[in-house]
């Protein structure tokens, strides 16, 4: 069981700010997770369509598509940040 969090327009397009999932055993990288998530709903697919506009944090640290997933508790998916 792990928590997925969505922020900003990713949250709006997916339609929820969080969901609890069980990560399939064959999903071992961030890139594979995104591919799998995109199949969950049209909203997920739309939000994740342009991967260049997607940023990821695994257990609250920035990750890349190649980052391996070792029993993460929390993965956040969001647009490039615009603070400051």
């Amino acid at each position: 069981m792990m928590q997925l969090l969505y922020f900003a327009w990713v949250r709006e397009m997916v339609g929820t700010d969080s969901e609890t999932i069980t990560l399939p055993a064959d999903i071992t990288t961030v890139a594979a997770l995104l591919d799998w998530l995109a199949t969950r709903s049209p909203g997920h697919a739309a939000a994740l369509a342009d991967r260049s506009r997607i940023r990821i944090a695994v257990d609250q640290g920035f990750a890349t598509p190649a980052t391996p997933l070792n029993n993460p508790r929390e993965i956040a998916i969001f647009p490039p940040v615009t603070g400051g």
């Binding site: 900003a8 944090a57 609250q60 940040v81 400051g84």
Partner: protein, 147 residues
């Protein structure tokens, strides 16, 4: 030591700077950067969304990184979240150092990294009722790359 705070309330930069300098006698230079909501034509409000579990930790990591790069420099960074109006302050970076070059450099570094590494997202509300998520700027990435 560079402290980080995350809050919805306004801040008073003069009070923050006075607190930073209090009791220190070795500081010749203080830089206070304030980021403000620009009142672009038709902008009604700006809402800053953040990632509660990560944002403050990320701000503290950026602050700790700056404190290693400029060991004589102290500072305070404050970032607001929530709904802000044109003219409101968004972010404050105050640095102080024995010499001005370090105070300026640390403040610019902190701002460049807050722009590109702190998990905040800005949503604009316009007078015609539309909302728009602010797009990240390549110029901010370029600014952060120089450090």
């Amino acid at each position: 030591m560079i402290a980080a705070r995350l809050q919805s309330e306004p801040f008073d930069s003069a009070i923050v700077q006075a607190a930073l300098l209090a009791g220190r006698t070795d500081l010749g230079a203080a830089v206070a950067f304030t980021g403000l909501v620009r009142a672009d034509e038709g902008l009604v409000a700006l809402t800053l969304e953040h990632y509660p579990a990560m944002t403050l930790a990320q701000m503290q990591a950026i602050a700790a990184d700056a404190a290693v790069r400029w060991p004589n420099t102290i500072g305070t960074i404050i970032h607001r979240h929530g709904r802000l109006l044109p003219g409101d302050s968004i972010v404050l970076v105050v640095t102080a150092s024995p010499h001005r070059a370090h105070a300026f450099a640390a403040a610019q570094f902190l701002m460049d990294w807050l722009k590109t590494k702190a998990p905040f997202w800005k949503r604009e509300e316009w007078a015609d009722g539309t909302t728009r998520w602010v797009e990240a700027k390549g110029i901010d990435d370029a600014a952060a790359e120089r450090w």
